[in-house]
Structures are given as C-alpha cells and as structure tokens.
C-alpha cells in the first residue's frame, strides 16, 4: 500500500486535520512509552492480570493474550505478531491468544505514525516492537520470581511459560500478580536468532479454528440490540449529484423505517437487509449526471496513448537515451485496466451513535483515519469515538480509504436512524463504488547494441495518481510533479542499462482510485518484465540468461531468479503447445521471481504450473509466507487472465463475479513456493507475490505461441 521508501520524518508533517481534525505526529513507541498501557478494564481484562505494556496481558489462568495493532485480513498477523512476542517471552504457545487493539496512539504503526495495516509492513515494522514487548514481560516475570525466591534474577531461566531456578518452578500465571507491581525495564536483551523457538517455524495459525465453524466475527456479522440495517442508493456515475428522489412506494414497504438523503446518496433504513434492499429497488432517484456522463475507458486509453508520445515529468535519468548507440530497437505499449479489490466480504460498517459517544465496528485497515473522519461527522472529539476492528473478509487496500468512505456514510446513516445501524454494500454496490487500481498505459522503447547488450530503455507511464488529493500527498509526493506510487517498480529498475529514462504523465480523471494489493508494482512489473523479454528476443538470447547478465550487481534478485528457474527446470523441454515464462521483481522490501507454464488452446490461456521463489530476509512463519505467495500468485493471475473494469457513458459495465471473474478451483495451477533462507533484514510478504504473476504468464504465452501480450487481461485476439 503506502510504500516503505517514505522517509519517516516526512510523517512528522502529516496532518489529517483536513479530513478529521486530528494531528498525527511521528512516534516510535519504545518500551518506556508503552508502559502506560490502556486500562486493563478497557481491554476486558480481569483485575488479576499482568499487563506490562500495551501488547501483552498474562492472566492468572496462564492465558497470554497478545494485543495486535494490525488488522487480520488473511495475511496471518494474528499469528505472526504473537509469535514474535511469545518467542521472546518464552511463553507456552498453547496458551497464547490474540486480541485486536483498540484505537490508541500506542498502537500506531512505527513508521507511519498512525494505526493502520498496509504496505506489507506489519511483520517487519512490528518485529522490534513485539519482540521487545515480550522480552520486557519476561524480564519482569523473572524479577518477580527472583524476588519470591530471594535469588539473583541472573540465576533464573525461563521455559514454556514458567520461570525456573534449580528444581523450583513458578508459572507465569502464578507470577502475574507479583510482576504486575514491578516497573517495566528500560532496556531489554533480545534473543540470539539461534535461540528462536517459534520464529522461523511453520506454526499453525491461531485464527483457524473459529474460521471453520462460523465463529469468526467479520464486520458484516456484528449484531447490536435494536440494530437496523441500511443500504444506500449511490450515484450511477462518479461525481453525479442527487437532484430528487421519490420514495412514495419504497416508504410503505415492509420493515422500512426511514429513507433519507445523505452526502453519499439516499439511505434506505429497514429492519433487515432484504427489506432495505427490496425497498431500494422501489426507490426512484433523479441524478444530475455531471462531468463524467460521457466517460469511456477506450477513449481514455486512446488519449493516454497520444499523451505518451510526448515527454513526461522526469522520474529517473541515467545516461542519455537520445545518444545511446543502439543497433536494434523495439517499442511496446502496455495497457492495464482499472481493477476492483473485490474482497469476498463486501464493505459494511456498524455504528452506534449516542449523544456523547460513537462506536464503530468494521473491518478497517485505517483505524486512526477512520476514527478521525467518523468523529468529524459525529461532531465529537476523536477520543469519544471508538473503532472496533473485526476480522476483515479480505482487504487488499480497499479498507484503507483516505476519506473513510464506508465509515463516514454509516455515521451519517446512524445520525438519521437514531438507533444502532449496519450499512451493508451489496456486491454490486461494492464493485461499482469506486476506489479502483488505476488504469495505466506504459510505453517503453529500448534497444540493444551489436553484441546484444541492453543499452537503452525509456519508460513513459500515463495514469491517475493515487496520492494526489489525499492527506498523504504532501509527504508522499514531496514536491515532486509525479506520484511515486505510479512509477514504483520501474523507478528502481535494477537492470544494468547505461541509458535509462523513466517519465510520468499524471492523468486527471474523475474515477476514484486507490492502492490495490501491490499498488504500482501490480502494473510496472507487467510492463517491465514483459519488455525485458522483448529485449532478450531482440538480442536472440534466453530470457533467463539475459536477465542474469543484467543483474550481476544484484545478488538477491539473482538469488530468487536462479532459485525459481532451477526449481522449475528452466530449459527442459515441455510438451508441444506449452511455454514457460519468467519474471523477477523487488517490492515491499522483498525479492520475488516466478516461472509460469502455460498452454494456449482455442485462444484460451491455461496456467498449469507456477514456481515462486521469495526472499523476504529473516522470516517469521514459512507456512504463512507460502500461503501469501500462493495467494499473491493467484491474485495476480486472476488480474492477468480475467479482470477488467470498463466504463461506457460514465457507467461501470461490471457488476458482480460474472462480469469481473476471479480465478476458480478448476483454473488454479499447481503452485510451488521456495523461500530463500537468510538473515537479511525482514521484508514484506502480503504483496510481493502478486507482481510477477502477470509477466511470467504473459512471457510463457509468448514461449508457447510466439505472440506478445501487451494488454491485460490477456486476450489472444489482441496479442501481437
């Protein structure tokens, strides 16, 4: 989501005052700062529990509860972050549980200065925080035992939820009461990685059991006494305004409580979802269609293509493309469409608004901002608003909306309802509601010298900015005339090409856009990794070896590239009609390479096998890493093969899974994940599996058919 390259000090300057009246400062909570934890009653703890810092509570019943400040949206943070803490604590893993953190500055993301989940950064940003919190708790439990036994703390050791001294043993639960009276240490000693008992092991996820019997509570499952349900009739075209509405029929339908105009549209409030949805169908709304009424995506792409003919804002310039001595050159224009996040759980939000408080239940990735925006609408100071983070039925960036669209409108509805309300988006509402991955056009020209060495590369990208207009614009764009999120992944192209230029054109279009899993990398990797293959073709070299030669100074790129190629059996013959393609990419501090094997029959591409190599440095849970890498490959393959949002006369043409398909079981290839074992700095894992999928598949299609893919989703009729 938000890229890591952002310098931390820039966040000092970020204020979301514009959106919510809350000033966010940078802070990196150290142990001492964490000592003043939220009152344990606020977290529902018993008075007998020991809560040495904001991240852990140990009960006299031996339960170790890890309070997790990142949202669980499938990426496993309710397991990997507790593992970090429990390992340093020497906890008995069978006693470890998790709890979502309330909204509180103590739970801010160390780098972003606000509570949020994104950028594939939960584990690497929490690494120090959670380990220190566990180590501090352990030191206090040792001190409590040492006091009780009147022995030096240094003579005590810990093991599986107990402090030991000789043959004596006190469990953490037995020590909780005494330890709670001690002062947290200023400094803690962290384990030597060779002593890790949990970190690095494929520990089973803690949240699996409740996801197998219907027990897990997602936002859409929240129930409050006296709660009503609402759906909203939103504008059919972005920017359209409600002129008038006729609710004569809808108002008298069963269960309908109220129909009311709010800034987002017209809210239909009823006893149940089905009643609200049925009444909405009977509602007649007149819209002033506004400036986007003739918007059409194929025209937009045509304009993008024209624009790419002129130089854009300079992003990167190595050498001089104009004077490079090129023997053979090639030009390719890559296009990718708008994409929907399409989480399985459509957007929803529950609000209980009282005169002096507001409680919100939702699957949020942006707690601080959502709280601030909710407070503004509720007319309350942010501290009077609490946001309860539920399980997220997928996030992929959509639940991190800078304007908190799905939270803000629910607060408006709650104001009108006067009782607790749940706003549910239908699948169609969710798909048509905007905040898409922006469409992009990426024109590349490049050439090789007489010996087939790549000597020249010019990338020109045209597309909408994600950051512009958000509270992050000032910090993220840093006075640059381009959005780094538009060009990430090509601005740091690792290939040794002496003359290399990257230029950006920012398009101004009234379609709301947002970060979607792997953000800019989701399209830059497609264009760059396909073009590297085209250059290899120009040089008459093997695509894998061609990359190797250009990556000699990048050992970690080479590492994953070699691993994927070797495990996939690169170079070994495939059955007739099949092809193999390769891609490598760096994103979110991790290195990834994929090899795809495909066949093409009657114009249909079938992916048979994907071999993924991932280097995310020191890793925490290889089971989760494999799951994220596989899931990322499938997410990327879905986009490559099937997905496209198109507009005609301002209206989105897609409504549901039948018009915006997701890869299904019968289409899913066999996928292998190979993890590089090293102790480098940890990187992300939620997003790095996505970018290589599309180019690996597209390059495999070329190997199988001799046709180049320059547009997603892949259609053989458009191959060149």
């Amino acid at each position: 989501m938000i890229r890591r390259k952002l310098e931390r000090r820039d966040f000092l300057k970020i204020s979301v005052a514009a959106s919510g009246g809350l000033l966010i400062g940078f802070q990196f909570p150290r142990i001492s700062a964490l000592a003043s934890a939220p009152s344990s009653s606020a977290l529902g703890a018993s008075t007998n529990s020991f809560m040495p810092n904001a991240f852990v509570r140990i009960g006299t019943d031996e339960r170790v509860t890890v309070i997790v400040n990142h949202s669980e949206m499938g990426q496993g943070v309710y397991t990997s972050l507790p593992m970090l803490l429990a390992d340093e604590l020497d906890a008995d893993w069978t006693k470890v549980g998790f709890e979502p953190a309330p909204v509180d500055p103590k739970y801010n993301h160390p780098a972003f200065g606000m509570q949020m989940t994104g950028g594939s950064s939960s584990v690497y940003s929490g690494l120090q925080q959670f380990r220190e919190a566990g180590a501090a708790a352990r030191a206090m439990l040792i001190a409590a035992a040492a006091q009780q036994w009147s022995v030096p703390a240094s003579d005590c050791r810990t093991e599986s939820g107990a402090v030991l001294h000789g043959s004596r043993k006190l469990s953490y639960g037995q020590l909780a009461g005494t330890a709670a009276k001690l002062t947290p240490p200023e400094h803690v000693q962290l384990k030597d990685p060779k002593d890790f008992k949990l970190i690095g092991k494929p520990i089973k996820r803690l949240d699996t059991p409740e996801k197998l019997n219907g027990g897990a509570v997602f936002g859409i499952d929240v129930k409050l006494p006296g709660m009503v349900t609402a759906v909203i009739a939103r504008p059919p075209i972005f920017g359209a305004k409600m002129k008038s509405f006729d609710d004569a029929r809808a108002r008298s339908m069963p269960g309908v409580k109220k129909i009311v105009a709010i800034p987002a549209g017209v809210a239909v409030i009823a006893d149940t979802f089905w009643q609200a949805k049925t009444a909405r169908e009977a509602l007649r709304v007149e819209w002033d269609e506004g400036a986007m009424q003739n918007f059409n995506t194929s025209e937009m792409m045509h304009q993008f293509r024209e624009r790419a003919k002129a130089p854009g804002t300079s992003v990167r310039k190595d050498g001089d493309v104009a004077t490079a001595s090129v023997a053979k050159k090639i030009e390719a224009v890559y296009e990718v469409p708008y994409l929907s996040h399409l989480m399985m759980e459509p957007l929803n939000c529950v609000v209980d608004l009282r005169a002096d408080s507001c409680e919100v239940w939702t699957g949020s990735q942006f707690q601080t901002i959502d709280r601030a925006n909710a407070a503004k609408v509720a007319g309350l100071p942010p501290e009077k608003v609490q946001l309860h983070t539920t399980f997220l039925g997928g996030g992929f960036g959509r639940r991190a909306n800078p304007q908190s669209d799905f939270v803000v409108e629910a607060v408006y509805v709650a104001k009108a309802a006067g009782v607790p309300v749940k706003v549910i988006w239908t699948r169609e509402d969710d798909m048509q509601g905007g905040w898409y991955r922006p469409a992009f056009l990426h024109a590349i020209e490049g050439g090789v010298d007489a010996s087939g060495n790549a000597v020249s590369w010019r990338s020109r990208l045209v597309g909408q900015s994600i950051m512009a207009g958000t509270p992050f614009a000032a910090a993220m764009m840093k006075g640059k005339a381009y959005d780094p999120a538009s060009v990430e992944g090509v601005d740091d192209l690792p290939y040794e090409i002496p003359n290399l230029t990257v230029e950006s054109h920012q398009a101004e279009i009234g379609v709301p856009v947002q970060w979607l899993r792997s953000v800019g990398h989701s399209h830059t990797a497609f264009a760059t990794e396909c073009f590297v293959d085209e250059l290899a073709g120009l040089a008459q070299k093997d695509p894998y070896q061609f990359r190797r030669a250009l990556l000699q100074k990048h050992p970690r790129h080479l590492g994953v590239l070699d691993l994927a190629a070797q495990k996939a059996g690169w170079g070994k013959p495939l059955p007739k009609g099949m092809g193999r393609g390769i891609a490598v990419h760096f994103a979110f501090e991790s290195y990834s390479a994929h090899v795809a094997e495909v066949s093409v029959e009657d114009g249909n591409v079938r992916v048979h096998r994907m071999v993924c190599a991932i280097d995310c440095g020191q890793y925490v849970n290889p089971g989760i890493i494999a799951a994220q890498t596989e899931g990322g490959a499938i997410f990327g393959a879905s986009a490559a093969l099937f997905q496209e949002l198109t507009f005609d006369k301002g209206r989105l043409q897609q409504t549901n899974f039948n018009s915006f398909p997701v890869m299904r079981m019968n289409e899913c290839p066999s996928i292998e994940t190979h993890i590089v074992d090293n102790h480098e700095k940890s990187g992300g894992i939620g997003e790095p599996g996505v970018p290589c999928a599309a180019p690996a598949i597209a390059n495999a299609v070329f190997a199988a058919t001799g046709k180049r893919i320059r547009k997603l989703p892949i259609r053989m009729s458009e191959a060149v």
Binding site: D207, V217, N666
Partner: protein, 156 residues
C-alpha cells in the same frame, strides 16, 4: 408461517416466503457463519445443505426450506471434529476465512458422494466456491487429506 429445522432445531418463522434463506439464517436466526458474497449464486460463500444437498442460500427463497432440514456451518461440527475441519486445520487452509464456511459445506457434499475424490472431482465440486485469497491449493490438499482420514476409519 414457515416451519423447518436448522442444525437439528425446529424453527417456526413468520417471514416473507420470498426472502432468501441466507438472510433468514443470518438475521432472523442469528447464525452468521453462512456468508453473503454475491447474491446471485456466483461465489458459493452462502452454501448450506437442504436435506443434505448443497444449496446457494442467497438465491434460495426461504420457502424452499419449508418442512426440510437445513444444515449450516454451525451444524457441521461445532467442536471441529469432522474430518474436513480437521484436515482444514492440519493444512492451515484459511486466510481471511470469509469464504471457508461455503468451501467446507461444498466439500462435505463432495466427500459424502465421492469418498475418494480425484482432482477432477474436486474441480467439479468446488469450482462454484470462490476464494479471493487464493487458498485453492490448500483446499485441494485438505480434501484429499480428509478423504484419507475417512478411508482409514479414523473419523466418522
């Protein structure tokens, strides 16, 4: 008045008979393990059993359940003792988890009808259930594993 049973419990309900079974289960009966995903039988998140048959409850009017026996994820085995749930645990299948109720309910019918499913059987039975997180490879492994458990007689 519609009468049916849900997870072995008799239910009498005053409800518009055209209301989809999904919303009756979720809102009237409070069983929220069955999920809404698409509302048009595209994604399978709402899969329940009516008299043992896998049904997309988002498009099935509640009247269709009249006099019949409905099983939801909550009725599969609350203590996670079914071979499928045990296999799902061993393969650590769920990511976000939202689609998994439907996946399990579809897999339960598959295993009953084909105790030793091939990969093709799995494709056929599970293709109506979308997982946006991409847990398909693990679902496939877990179904094979559950089938092995049943074959070994280690489970019901």
């Amino acid at each position: 008045m519609i009468a049916f049973s849900v997870n072995g419990k008799h239910i009498d309900l005053e409800v518009d008979p055209s209301t989809p079974l999904l919303w009756v289960i979720r809102e009237q009966l409070g069983l929220t393990g069955t999920k809404y995903g698409c509302g048009m039988a595209q994604c399978g998140a709402c899969t329940v059993h009516i008299n043992g048959e896998a049904v997309r409850s988002c498009v099935a009017p509640v009247s269709r359940a009249g006099g019949k026996s409905v099983t939801t994820i909550e009725g599969l085995s609350p203590d996670l003792s079914s071979p499928l749930q045990r296999a799902w645990l061993e393969e650590d299948v769920p990511q976000c988890g939202y689609c998994q109720s439907g996946q399990l309910m579809s897999a339960a019918v598959l295993l009953r009808e084909k105790p030793k499913p091939t990969d093709e059987d799995i494709d056929e039975a599970m293709t109506g259930n979308i997982c946006r997180c991409g847990t398909y490879p693990r679902i496939r492994k877990a179904i094979h594993r559950a089938a092995e458990m049943v074959a070994k007689g280690g489970a019901r």
